[in-house]
């Protein structure tokens, strides 16, 4: 199972294991990672599971899809080139060790 790391705004890290075939948002929510709100439950409707992919991992994760790209314009925290919605990042063993940064606010 891939291990993914959420770095919180205060610098602390939460390391969680995730089942392949699920998405990064689910890994956060099912492990109670603070700051991933995910109001719409993974349907790319709310923009409240925003993360910044660590600079070293952006190539592995890839770019946002079209709907996600639109929603990322309306996140509560600033959009950056590394912004993604965690509900749109599918997890696989290739993403083992992924680090993402949780923004200060989601709504």
């Amino acid at each position: 199972m891939p291990i993914v790391i959420f770095e919180l705004p205060d610098g602390t890290q939460r390391k969680v294991s995730a089942a392949p075939g699920t998405v990064l948002m689910q890994a956060a929510v099912s492990n109670g990672v603070e700051g991933i709100v995910a109001e719409c439950g993974g349907n790319a409707s709310c923009a409240t599971c925003h993360v910044y992919v660590d600079d070293r991992h952006t190539a592995r994760v890839g770019p946002p899809n079209d709907v996600e790209d639109e929603m990322l314009d309306f996140t509560a925290a600033e959009r950056r080139p590394t912004s993604r919605l965690s509900c749109q990042i599918g997890l696989s063993d290739e993403l083992d060790g992924l680090i993402v940064h949780v923004p200060e606010e989601q709504v």
Binding site: V37, G41, N43
Partner: protein, 399 residues
């Protein structure tokens, strides 16, 4: 599967008077959160679930807390629709209807017309020095904007507002008043005709509206499905932005110091919106029905049990929000439940946020100088399934 119409074994039974709930449900909700967070309420015919964490838990388990509810008032009012479906059926309808309500579409396609409509409504009242901001501004604004986004160019704002009121009265007709059913049926027939006409036009000439999007959806949607879902959207699409506008304006008018700070920091309208929606959620509760036995709040509910997720109560849960009964735009941010959660997260959220916090409040407070509440006894907060101001009478300087 039979539908239990009594309390689940072990569930406390709490008598609540519907008239008391309409007047002010919050004291009853506070007591339920404290003593019976899952309670069978005979007058409602459901188990009320009132704590924040339990509601969030239920919203995250749509496969257990199903939106398909037998005997639903909404089903009786409008027929089968996406709010009373689960995925994948819900997803098919939502995907067809949603694109015109996404935030970039709101900004690029609708915002200009929204702003013009707001100015036109203010032009009509600006010289009067007094108005009811609900009837003279918020309701016609919400209805006109909704007609635009839906693609109902053959209906006026007055029609849409009246249809919405009639259907909402049906949808919250727990007292089973036959006159309310008749009015709701008359409204839904009128909507069916208007949608059929609009759908025929956009089939030839797509216009980016919700009806057009559903007509041209990748996964086909029938005319009856479009009609029923437009009914649902008209139901919610008027009262929710209208009520958030009214309650937020009412709260600020009674707190001139807060209003001054907000006027000096236009970026804070967004916080006002979210706090208003938390403080008095326009939708107070919605129903779910269990697909299988499930334990929640210390009670094992049998399959088929009817539950009401009381988001108005979750939004006042003292374990999540300090001093929850206070309207406080500076409170530390915690996500509220007013837009619902999971797959049914409010489709109109981005429309409402823009319409109310980016346009309606700034324009009203910017143009009507010296705005003051008229302290009319008619201005009451009312309702529990849906809650908002009955009117908001105000005065301002015209010189």
């Amino acid at each position: 599967m039979s539908v239990p119409t009594t309390a689940a074994p072990g569930a406390p039974v709490v008598d609540l008077d519907l008239a008391d709930l309409r007047h002010d449900p919050y004291p009853a909700y506070a007591e339920l959160r404290r003593t019976a967070p899952l309670a069978w309420v005979p007058s409602v015919g459901r188990h009320l679930l009132t704590r924040y964490d339990d509601i969030v838990h239920a919203e995250k388990l749509p496969e257990v807390f199903s939106s398909r509810e037998e005997g639903s008032l909404l089903l009786r009012t409008v027929g089968p629709n996406l709010l009373r479906e689960d995925d994948p059926e819900h997803r098919r309808l939502r995907a067809a209807a949603e694109p015109p309500t996404r935030p970039r579409q709101v900004r690029d396609q609708w915002a200009g017309a929204f702003e013009r409509t707001a100015h036109e409504l203010l032009d009509r009242i600006a010289g009067r020095g007094e108005a009811d901001l609900i009837a003279d501004f918020a309701e016609p604004l919400a209805a006109a904007n909704l007609a635009l986004v839906l693609g109902l160019r053959n209906a006026g704002a007055d029609d849409v507002a009246a249809w919405s009121r009639a259907m909402m009265d049906g949808n919250s007709n727990y007292a089973d008043d036959p006159d309310l059913w008749l009015r709701a049926e008359s409204a839904t027939r009128a909507i069916e005709e208007a949608v059929a006409e609009a759908a025929a036009i956009v089939r030839r000439e797509p216009d980016g509206s919700v009806i057009s999007s559903m007509v041209h959806a990748a996964e086909p949607v029938s005319l009856a499905e479009i009609q029923n879902n437009v009914k649902v959207i008209i139901g919610g699409g008027v009262n929710e932005p209208r009520d958030v506008f009214g309650v937020g304006a009412w709260a600020l008018l009674r707190r001139p110091d807060v209003l001054d700070r907000v006027l000096g920091d236009p970026g804070s309208w967004k916080r006002v919106f979210e706090e208003t929606a938390r403080w008095v959620s326009p939708i107070g509760m919605y129903p779910r029905q269990l697909t299988r036995d499930h334990e929640i709040a210390g009670v094992t509910l049998p399959a088929g049990s009817r539950v009401a997720l009381v988001i108005a109560s979750g939004n006042r849960d003292e374990s999540v929000f300090e001093r929850p009964d206070e309207f406080d735009v500076d409170r530390p941010h915690r996500p509220h439940l007013a837009f619902g959660g999971g797959p049914h997260f409010c489709m109109g959220a981005w429309v409402a946020r823009h319409e109310v916090s980016a346009l309606a409040w700034p324009l009203v407070f910017g143009r009507l100088k010296g705005l003051r509440p008229a302290d009319s006894p008619q201005d009451r907060l009312e309702g529990w399934v849906f809650r908002g101001l009955t009117s908001l009478n105000v005065t301002w300087h015209t010189a």
